[in-house]
Amino acid sequence: MSDDELKDFYRWLVTLRLLDQRAWNLQRQGRIGTYPPYSGQEACQVGTAAALEPEDWICASYRDWAALAYRGVPLSYPLLNSMGHPDAGKIPESINALPVQVVIAAQTLHAVGLAWASQLQNQDRVAVAFCGDGATSQGDFHESLNLASVIQAPVIFVVQNNQWAISMPVSRQMHSKTIAQKALAYDIEGIRVDGNDIIAVYQTVKKLAAQVRQGGGPVLIEAVTYRLGAHTTADDPTRYRSQEDDRRLSQGEPIGRLQRYLRDAGLMSDQDFAAVDENAKTKVDEAVEAAEAYPKSDPESVFSHVYAELSEPLKDQRTAFRQTVQPGGAKLG
């Protein structure tokens, strides 16, 4: 990796971390709704996203905004999403990524299908399925890995093992010592990587993506990381994890690490770091502004994307709906 690439990573991580923290605060101020912070997992997400080709697919869960952002989804989207705006699902046309999805592990099968479609159409695209440690318990996770292995689909499963599924530690989720070893059940390659080390994540995914793209079959990556914050703004982790453990595990977080590396290698100075912080602040301010200035959604739009064409019954329902809503969007009554 070039020095510039590393510095760029740093800029991304810092910006994304700040965005995440800002989102948390916005929720606390009542300006956005429930929000699932990704702090601590930026390296897994950005490292993976950066290692892909532009046309590759990403299938994300609710916590994977850092990956989407790196791919080009505006920074305002996670905020819009927590503001309950429908457009947060409208991934810009130029980006091959599915909107975030909350049903645990369901997106892993979509990734298999997308990879399969690429295979059938000789598109050379790889699909990445992000999911969490908790997701490995779901039937869909298993069905994904099995199907992908049988058809040798070009999928990379990236499990972010952040140690927790809400209040459930990994040890209650599985009896196996690692997630990577689950690859053995499917005779595919399984790798455990330090998910807090963006260079390791990037290089692992880079290498595996090439291999997968060349028809080497699916791979399973366990990126070991730590969820620095709560599960969501509605969660209180002090109920179930000790401050002690928390302190210990937080130390490995990816930004401090990359910063130390950059400093030790003489690549960035304190001044540079301050500039990055400054720049991040600007970008995050802009994102907040963009989200808050984003046009309100027309309530009636709820009918617009159920089917390609509005069916007769839905037309009637929309007419009835209109009678309950004022033109400006306020509720009648």
Binding site: K90, H110, A308
Partner: protein
């Protein structure tokens, strides 16, 4: 034009859809070499190869979930669920995924997926193989539900379903697969989704059915005709979107309606039809809408199913009851 059974018509539809559009592919359990347990996909594997006719692992959620990805990725998957009762395994991928991708992505993505499944009773299957649970799917916004009742209908509706940009559940009445033959054009033709079909005109009672109950309804209508009761039989063909207009026009004329389905009574789709009739044709109704349905029990074992399933007798009695009310 040849006289085909329904299973042949379906097989032919799949064949010409695959010929015409490279993106169309068939996937499911035993659909390849074996040609499907009912032979719906017979010969397709030989013609189109194993990239387009794919035997999947035994995992319904994987079949539908990967189809969602295939569809978004530019293919036009036609997925087979071997028996409708096994669709329970794929409920999440249908109910929260396939049917909501367009909505979730605000139109950026859509899922042109057809899910085919044989369904219904009368063929002496083991447990779970005969269930009629179409009502679940008619209650899933974003999904269409189509049920043919004849070979001609089956082919035309299936071709439309494959052309449709949104996910369509296509339910095939097992007991009609080989129950009779009908002239079916050799070529491509489409029948509009969302349109009901009047299979017998009449003016005294409207009898509403779909899938396996359509011939039973016609039988009952024939019997009523002997008694000079003129029954109009409507085959809904599509449950969602429902062709309310055809139903209401008929009931406004007849003033009486009977709706029949194999599914358990409570919460069956007959309730929706009944509710709509009384909503839209209240003043025309001379008698309550009568439902003739399966009972609120699991689908029975083969030795009992003939007693359990709605038949022309029960329908005929309902017609009489509607008339005499």
């Amino acid at each position: 034009m040849a006289k085909l059974t329904m299973i042949q018509a379906i097989n032919q539809a799949l064949g010409i859809a695959m010929e015409r559009d490279e993106r169309v592919m068939v996937l499911g359990e035993d659909v390849g070499k074996n040609g499907g347990v009912f032979r719906a996909t017979e010969g397709l594997w030989e013609r189109f190869g194993d990239h387009r006719v794919v035997d999947t692992p035994l995992a319904e959620s994987a079949i539908i979930g990967s189809s969602v990805g295939l569809a978004i990725g530019g293919m036009r998957p036609v997925a087979e669920i071997q028996f409708f009762g096994f669709i329970f395994e794929a409920m999440d991928q249908i109910g929260t995924q396939a049917s909501r991708i367009r909505f979730r992505s605000q139109g950026r993505y859509h899922v042109p997926l057809v899910i085919r499944a044989p369904f219904g009773g009368g063929v002496r299957t083991p447990e779970i193989h005969s269930d009629s649970i179409e009502a679940f799917f008619a209650h899933m916004p974003g999904l269409k539900v189509v049920i043919p009742a004849t070979p001609y209908q089956a082919k035309g509706l299936l071709l439309s379903a494959i052309q449709d940009p949104d996910p369509v559940l296509f339910l095939e009445p097992m007991r009609l697969y080989r129950a009779g033959r009908e002239e079916v054009p050799d070529d491509w033709y489409e029948l509009d989704l969302g349109k009901a079909r009047i299979t017998r005109p009449g003016d005294a009672v409207t009898l509403i059915a779909w899938g396996p109950m359509v011939p039973v309804a016609e039988q009952a209508a024939d019997r009523a005709a002997v008694d000079h009761i003129s029954v109009e039989v409507i085959d809904l063909a599509t449950l969602n979107p429902l062709d309310t207009a055809t139903i209401i026009t008929s009931v406004e004329k007849t003033g009486r309606a009977v709706v029949v389905h194999e599914a358990a009574r409570s919460g069956g789709f007959g309730a929706e039809v009944s509710a709509q009739i009384q909503e839209h044709a209240f003043l025309s109704l001379e008698a309550p809408v009568i439902r003739v349905t399966g009972y609120d029990t699991p689908f029975p074992v083969p030795s009992i199913e003939d007693f359990w399933l709605p038949d022309a007798d029960r329908l005929y009695q309902a017609i009489q009851a509607a008339i005499r009310y």
